[in-house]
């Protein structure tokens, strides 16, 4: 087994501020993902990374940057926080060498003032 941790759990920022969310996994998974969940909605993909230093854009990548510093960690940066992107951000990981099943972290809730 393994676990995905996300920090911080709650993030409050000002409009226009640059904010960074972090994700760590100890599954030894190769592929990691960032999703955004708006209130009462399903998840939408922002970025994913199939290996260290790789980045691939999802449908919702505009306004975000990402960084895969090492195999176990994947960071997401909101480049200029806007009120309409208050949401929960969920990190996930999977191994494309085995089961492909995605496992999710507990999320970071972003509030923009």
């Amino acid at each position: 087994g393994g676990i995905i941790t996300q920090t911080p759990k709650f993030l409050i920022g000002q409009e226009g501020q640059k904010l960074t969310l972090k994700c760590q996994q100890n599954f030894n998974h190769d592929t990691m993902y960032w999703y955004r969940q708006d209130s009462g909605k399903g998840l939408r993909l922002i970025y994913y990374s199939i290996t260290e230093n790789d980045l691939q854009k999802g449908d919702l990548s505009e306004g975000y940057d990402a960084s895969r510093e090492k195999k176990s960690s994947f960071s997401l940066t909101v480049t200029s926080a806007q009120k309409n992107e208050m949401a929960v951000f969920l990190c996930a990981s999977t191994s494309l060498l085995s089961s492909y099943e995605q496992y999710f972290g507990p999320g970071t809730r972003l509030t923009v003032l």
């Binding site: 009462g40 399903g42 998840l43 939408r44 999802g58 999977t94 995605q102 999710f104 507990p106 999320g107």
Partner: protein, 110 residues
């Protein structure tokens, strides 16, 4: 348009009854995952499916790739089954990029 359409959007069940949730896919899906999101927001893995069926306790799920749908059956519903159920499909990607439905909010009442 939505690639994954999930129904119903909300459902209320009496304890001990059965029900089914459904997802329809507008384009070809290769694998499907079902999740339960609990009140704290955590996503719990229920099923990972290639075409076929799986069963786990009171839950049973099926994925028909030719007819482009998946179902989740809940038997003998319990209070702890309450939450929001999501299906997600990998739509012909090499890297298991998931497209999510909008969820079914299930309330089980005594």
């Amino acid at each position: 348009g939505d690639k994954v359409k999930q129904s119903p959007s909300a459902l209320s069940l009496q304890e001990g009854t059965n029900s089914a949730l459904r997802c329809n896919f507008s384009i070809a899906a290769t694998t499907v995952q079902w999740f339960l999101q609990n009140p704290r927001g955590s996503l719990i893995n229920l099923f990972y499916l290639v075409p076929g069926t799986k069963e786990n306790g009171r839950l049973k799920s099926a994925f028909d790739s030719k007819e482009s749908y998946s179902t989740l059956h809940i038997r003998d519903a319990q209070l702890e089954d309450s939450g929001t159920y999501f299906c997600a499909a990998d739509i012909m990607s090499n890297y298991n990029v998931l497209y999510f439905g909008s969820g079914t909010k299930l309330t089980v009442e005594p």
